[in-house]
Amino acid sequence: MANILSIAQSGLVAAQAGLATTSHNISNQGVTGYSRQQIIQSSVAGQNEGFGFIGNGTNVDTIKRTYDAFLGTQASAVQSTKSQLDSYYAQINQINNMIADTSSGLSPSIQDFFTAVQDLVSDPSGAASRQATLSAAQSLASRFQELDAQLDTMQDGVNQQIQGSVTNINSYAQQIAQLNNSIVKSQSTGQPPNDLLDQRDQLVAELSKESKVTVVEQDGNYNVFIGNGQPLVVGTTTYNLQTVASSSDISRLEVGYTNANGSVVTLPEAMLTGGTLGGLFEFRSQTLDATQNSLGRVAIGLASTFNAQHKLGVDLNGAAGGDFFNVAAPKVTEDAKNTGDAVISASITDVSALTASDYRLSYDGTNYTVTRLSDNTSVYSDTTFPSAAIDGVQFSQTSGTMAAGDKFVIRPTVDGAADFNVLITNTNAIAAAAPIRTTAPTANTGNASISTGTVDSSFTAATVATPVTLTYDATTDTFSGFPAALDVTVTASDGTTATYPAGTAAIPYTAGATIAFGGVQVQISGTPQNGDQFVIASNTNGTGDNRNILALGSLQTAKTLLGGTTDYNGAYSQIVNTIGNKTRELQVNSDAQDKLLTSIQTAQQSESGVNLDEEATNLIRYQQAYQASAKVMQVVSDLFDTLISIAH
């Protein structure tokens, strides 16, 4: 009789445990990372009563969580990749939204500037049109600077997010270590601490969102490794990550790993893949730096080519044109760990050859090596310091010597947009006119004409300080009157060139040929008569001359950049195209990863998730089991009453 009572009681206990577990499941159905639990019951072995074994009721062996470790690992890995793509996408999307906007992109500012230049062509001496050109130049400069400032803000944002990510990783690592401790202790009782295990698995999943990690389970502990095998958590010990300033650029944060002995080692960005952190690093090196450099390249290209033409002209006061825009110099950073005392500088020699990449100059004690960082290609390696320009950039060792292991990072165009400024403040200083003018006196009897003439960078005002009068001699078919101190080069229209040394009295006439001396180029064509003269003189008071501003205006569509393949706007639209493509690619990849993650999570949830209908069924089941066991007790009680009544 007592036996039946204890059997019923074991049933009550089991049903109660079942109800409690069901209720636990119901309460936690919305908790992320929660795995449904169920009681595992077994019957208690019976007692031989001679006629057979009578069961001894039921026993609750354990409460088990339904969890598939394989799916968990898979989900973490996919989550890691997806987080990387998402974080990259979130960043690049800001640039994507910024660059092609019709009001905030660069393209409209370039167009507005050249529109103002064209208006100045129509009225080269007008104060209003000159002021309009300067104003447009200034708004172009602010556009460059604003875009660059936005990119700079993003650099800061990346730093902050790296910091946040590292803080999260450390915090997760700490919590995992604590859970390791609790779990191992709890497991010593022989029963699994289901909810702690869930929490720890969830922490690994969260950690995977920050960076890709590897988990190895050992004696109930999770040992977590980051990068290419640096332990983050071993048992109950954690190794902290921390942010460190890059040795080549203190404005950018990298991730350092604290060794057991307390020393900090910088982890190479390439090692920290996956997760938010991997996405940030990839964004910074693949897109942010490249965009800033590309924008700088447009700025430097525009400024240099515009300046070069501007300097060929003369301003309203008759003075030679100066620099119109400021051209940013390459930024050279010495590695903090350098031991030599070398000072390295760099200058841009050819804007069309510039790439959007940064370069690393290193010395190993024997060889100087220049590495183009965008494709990690060695572009120079020799025992001597690079003397020729590399990709349009000239390196020079200003002073000191490099010691073995010294490194310098050269960023040719990074400051291009930030330092793009208008140097001209006085409207009179816009060099709209050309420095020379040519005249065919009306006394000429032949029909020969002289071109308006152009100058190149070797021209100085001294060449035509005294007007050069070329006089034709029909007998010898030559021109005389060239400045005695200058070489004269005649380039015929078929390209053949003849150079006459300084002092040659008579230069043979070739119709249509380009005659060059002292930086001046003129063409005389037609048939001159004996004694016909052509005068090349300084363009004094040439306020109505618009030749140079016309040439400046035509730079808008001149293919001066990217190896002479495109104009300013084209170089900018290349950035737009690159960003657009990359953003789209990330969108597509992120969507694909999302699908994959969803399918794994579905499988995971299918296995471990709580289904309320199922729990409702269990509720009824255990309620009925409880009621049944209680009924058994009542039966026992009745039996007892029967017995008692017999005794009375």
Binding site: S107, D119, A433, R437, G542, N569, Q601, T602, E614, T617
Partner: protein, 407 residues
């Protein structure tokens, strides 16, 4: 398959979010009229659109430049038209002055009229444009290009021409220098100038002449010296090529009144009766400023005109002036023709430019604008899908066993 309750909700939410975001995207596309909202929507189109936008902006700028060019050229044309009228008036005066019945007073009236014309012409030559720049100064448009000096009006400008970019591949001059308008006048008949020496005492009048043999025309200057035989009264002349040194006069040639004389490819006639010692010259044509021509004309008309000798001088002077005024008229007409053809070209470029503008706009629209029909139909479709998703979510999420566990 087991479905977890939270997943049912999660999936429902994520599906609804997806649908909503594509609905919003479509709505944005419709409200902006653009298919490409950010470069990632269509990287190729976004980059190409920048290029086309630049082309549109430049095409618009060329239109502005053409309008500027038109305004500059029209102003020049109206001034040149006044110059033409003035020169025609002067030409009329020259013809009138040739009237043998005119006396000195009447000629003096003409001189007064010519002096006015002269000042008027000078004023036109020094016209300013709306910006206060001199029209005919070349590059030096900040100061008056024609200045009065002791020796007449001289041009201090230059031959510079301002070019404007009026088309993608067309730069057009929008001014003509004072030199080319007022100074570029070929004297005489265009090849050579015949003249009587100022000190002639006979009544010989030399014709303008013509080219008899272009191959012999070599830019030489000839001097004809007349002599009258004291006894017979026969008139003969010698001619001298002044470029051959020592000067070697030709053999004396008998002079016949009005008979054409051919020397070195030039052909002309002298009528009347040259006196002994009279001299005539044949020189190659040069270019002469219209102001110098007017100066000469005024000087000629200011001389007393009575008597056959003075009449002959007047005739010679007027003949030269007439030729030179014609030449100035021709030159201005040539410049006007050039201005006119430039204006006509601008009109052509305008229509080409506006065609191009339409093309560019079409291209830009193809690149980045939405197809309205397609966008509206997809908006409607997405709207239905979202509604269906919402309804079905409500239906499914309402199905739970707990509904029936009420006791």
């Amino acid at each position: 398959m087991r479905i977890s309750t939270s997943m049912m909700y999660d999936m429902g939410v994520s599906r609804l979010t997806d649908l909503q975001s594509s609905l919003v995207k479509t709505q944005q596309q419709i409200s902006t009229g653009k298919r490409v909202l950010t470069p990632s929507d269509d990287p190729v189109a976004a980059a190409a659109a920048l290029g086309v936008s630049q082309a549109i902006s430049m095409n618009d700028q060329y239109t502005v430049n053409r309008n500027n060019a038109k305004s500059a050229l029209s102003q020049e044309e109206s001034n040149l038209s006044s110059v033409t009228t003035l020169l025609q008036n002067i030409k009329t005066a020259v013809v009138a002055a040739g009237n043998a019945a005119y006396d000195d007073t009447q000629r003096q009236d003409l001189v007064t009229q010519l002096r006015n014309n002269y000042d008027e012409l000078l004023a036109i030559a020094n016209t300013k444009d709306a910006q206060g720049n001199y029209l005919f100064g070349g590059y030096q448009n900040g100061s008056a290009p024609f200045v009065q000096t002791a020796s007449g009006v001289s041009y201090v400008g230059d031959q510079g021409q301002r070019l404007l970019q009026v088309g993608a591949a067309r730069q057009m001059a929008v001014n003509d220098s004072g030199s080319s308008v007022f100074e570029n006048n070929v004297t005489g008949n265009g090849r050579f100038v015949t003249a009587a020496a100022a000190g002639n005492t006979g009544t010989g009048i030399i014709s303008a002449g013509s080219v008899a043999d272009p191959s012999q025309l070599n830019g030489q200057t000839y001097t004809l010296d007349f002599s009258v035989d004291a006894t017979t009264g026969a008139i003969s002349y010698t001619y001298t090529d002044s470029s051959v040194v020592p000067l070697t006069p030709s053999a004396p040639q008998p002079f016949v009144d009005g008979q054409s004389i051919t020397i070195g490819g030039t052909q002309f006639a002298i009528s009347g009766t040259p006196a002994d010692g009279d001299q005539f010259t044949v020189t190659p044509s040069t270019k002469q400023s219209v102001f110098d021509t007017l100066d000469d004309l005024i000087t000629t008309l200011s001389q007393p005109g009575s008597g056959s000798v003075n009449q002959a001088k007047l005739a010679n002077g007027l003949s030269a002036a007439s030729l030179n005024i014609d030449s100035a008229l021709n030159n201005v007409s040539a410049v006007r023709a050039s201005v006119g053809s430039r204006l006509a070209e601008l009109d052509d470029l305008d229509s080409a430019g506006s065609d191009l503008g339409i093309q560019y706009t079409q291209t830009l629209s193809d690149l980045q604008d939405i197809d309205a029909t397609e966008a509206y139909s997809s908006l409607t479709q997405q709207q239905y899908t979202l509604q269906a998703a919402q309804q079905s979510f409500i239906t499914i999420s309402g199905l739970t066993l707990f509904n029936y566990l009420d006791t």
